[in-house]
Amino acid sequence: MVRPAAGAAGVASNPKRSDPAADLHPPPGERSVAAEPVIRTEDLVRVYTMGEVEVRALDGVSLVVGPGEFVAVMGASGSGKSTFMNIIGCLDRPTSGSYSLDGVDVSGLDRDARAEIRNGKIGFVFQSFNLLARTTALENVELPLIYASNGHVAADRAARAMRCLADVGLSGREHHLPSQLSGGQQQRVAIARALINDPKLMLADEPTGNLDTKTSEEVMAVFQKLNDQGKTVVLITHEPDIAEYARRIVVFRDGRVVEDRPSEQRRAASAERPTA
């Protein structure tokens, strides 16, 4: 496993973490698959047809992500990492190949079935937060429960949303509108929203892209904390030093995985609670 130089300088100031858990994430070749993997893709291909030109955004991606992993998917723009995220996020379907989420093949599901999967098993965090404007933090966090097929009573919804907001350190901000919150706080509301259905997979697409360094660190600390609690997190980013917060780094280029290695010098975000 070749360790690239990228990120090494950025990590210098942070205490290196000799993570005992790293032993649980051996290099891909030796990974044990005793537990059902959260993500298993086999020869995933996605072809976009633009006029007469065919673009192979994904060109045979096979990847396994086990429960409790924290994987950073890296790559330049056009590398296929966004297409990969859309497919593993059940927003899109592969042209060929198979994708099993939590042991269930979801690559052939129709729109409504995928919506149900997204609602129950996946928590999205986006670069631009994607909170509903003029809707309180609490209501934003409750939103996925509205569409849950089992249905939730309003009081139950509010209680769960409060707990999730507390988990991301936003107690007391329940009734603030997104416009009254800072970028970091908005992103933490988005994380709380992603958490509310207790998803199998947290999928973060450039979650720090709109944030400054300090706030980025706070947000990444939340992801690390969630991962420490056992959540499987897949982080899409093009910033090497953000990727260093993960335990495993997968690099995409031209629609293929060109590198898959543990993050040896894993950054630990400041241990203290992020300040509001």
């Binding site: 409504d112 919506a115 609602n119 994607n130 509903l132 509205i146 569409y147 849950a148 259905n197």
Partner: protein
């Protein structure tokens, strides 16, 4: 539970854009109000016509002269083939006929002092008040002797009386009709507008003999009226008059009659049909404004879908299905149209009441027309809201999330 929550989401979106929602609903409000008011006016005039006709007496017949067949073509010659003797014979020999009144019609200026009033002058017989169920409110009606001697007496309709005499009683005064002096002996009760909107009180009634000989210089009556003993006897009376007159006019079987009998029922049917057509016309004109209101809803819903593309993307990403989004936007459209419909009903009923009070139009507001307008507005919400809602529900979440 889920539906209720999505309903709330739709309602919140409406509440957020208050001005826009109000203006959109206004289209429906105006449409529904127009439909209600126009149906009210139409139905009202229909009811008014019916009540006037029955007040007029549905048991009277009018006998017109002068239909003759010349070389196969039936034409109204205008030449009177009816005589006073025919009228007397009908009265005497037709058992189903209660009253008869020869008629001679003219028109002219009625002058009193320095005031004058152009009106119709009806020459009638003494039984005319019974046929029309129209009594005098002041003074008396003329009798047989005035008719026989062709006296220059007259009874004024209330409009003419008010125009020439104001509040004073005209009884005993002398007015000039076509320069002949007539003594006013009575004033008729106020009857109001006729089926065709004509002021029935704008008339002067005089003995038919006087009108016929003095004012028109003729010896023949224009037509006559007859009333049947009861409403049920109308057609019987019609048959009796027809056979009697054919006999008196020596018409062979198979030959066309040289007169024409119209019953009030036929007239009523015609008038009813006319007003029915009128209400249909009014309602369809109003429906167009409702349609325009519906297009307004569709327009604003399309705008709303476009500007909320990102919101739709977010909702879909976190698990909203196509039909959840469809429901949300349909609820919005439906709420706008139904709220507009309800306000429109209130306004429409108000406008109808206002017209009834201010313009003295007769207004009828059948509950089924209100239900119809309400149902129609809801249907418009679904119809015009469906396309934008469906458009929203079919958005691709990836594209929608990227939308700026």
């Amino acid at each position: 539970m889920k539906f209720l929550t999505i309903l709330k989401v739709g309602l919140k979106a409406i509440a957020r854009n208050k001005m826009r929602s109000a203006l959109t609903a206004l289209g429906i409000i105006i449409g529904v109000a127009c439909v209600i008011a126009m149906i009210g006016v139409g139905k009202g005039s229909q009811a008014a016509i019916q009540s006037q006709i029955s007040a007029l007496g549905t048991n009277f017949l009018m006998v017109f002269p002068g239909v003759s067949t010349q070389s196969g073509a039936r034409i109204f010659t205008g030449e009177s083939t009816l005589t006073e003797d025919d009228v007397a014979a009908v009265k005497a020999e037709c058992p189903s006929v209660a009253y008869v009144s020869p008629m001679s019609r003219s028109a002219g200026q009625v002058v009193y002092g320095n005031l004058n009033w152009g009106t119709s002058v009806q020459g009638v017989g003494v039984e005319w008040p019974f046929i029309r169920s129209w009594n005098t409110s002041d003074g008396v009606f003329f009798g047989d002797s005035e008719v026989r001697s062709a006296s220059k007496v007259c009874v004024l309709g209330s409009t003419v009386a008010t125009s020439l005499f104001g509040d004073q009683s005209p009884v005993g005064a002398t007015v000039r009709i076509k320069n002949f002096p007539f003594r006013v002996i009575g004033v008729l009760e106020t009857k109001g507008g006729s089926t065709v909107g004509q002021d029935q009180d704008d008339t002067v009634v005089a003995p038919y003999t006087t009108v016929m000989r003095l004012l028109k210089g003729k010896n023949k009556i224009d037509m006559f009226m007859a009333s049947a003993v009861s409403q049920a006897a109308v057609s019987q009376a019609q048959t009796e008059i027809e056979s009697l007159l054919r006999q008196r006019h020596r018409l062979m079987p198979g030959q066309d009659s040289d007169f024409m009998i119209r019953s009030q029922q036929e007239i009523a049917q015609t008038a009813d049909q006319t007003s029915h057509t009128l209400s249909l016309l009014l309602a369809s004109a109003a429906s167009i404004s409702l349609l325009v209101g519906g297009i307004g809803i569709m327009n604003i819903m399309l705008v709303s879908v476009t500007e909320r593309t990102r919101e739709i993307g977010i909702r879909m990403a976190i698990g909203a299905k196509g039909r959840d989004i469809l429901t949300q936007f349909l609820v919005e459209a439906l709420t706008l149209s139904v709220a507009g419909g309800l306000i429109g009903i209130v306004l429409g009923v108000g406008a109808s009441r206002f017209l009834a009070w201010k313009a003295h139009w007769s207004i009828a507001l059948p509950p089924e027309s209100i239900l119809l307008a309400f149902g129609f507005s809801a249907a418009i919400g679904v119809f015009f809201g469906f396309y934008p809602a469906q458009k929203a529900s079919r958005l691709d979440p990836i594209e929608a999330l990227r939308y700026e």
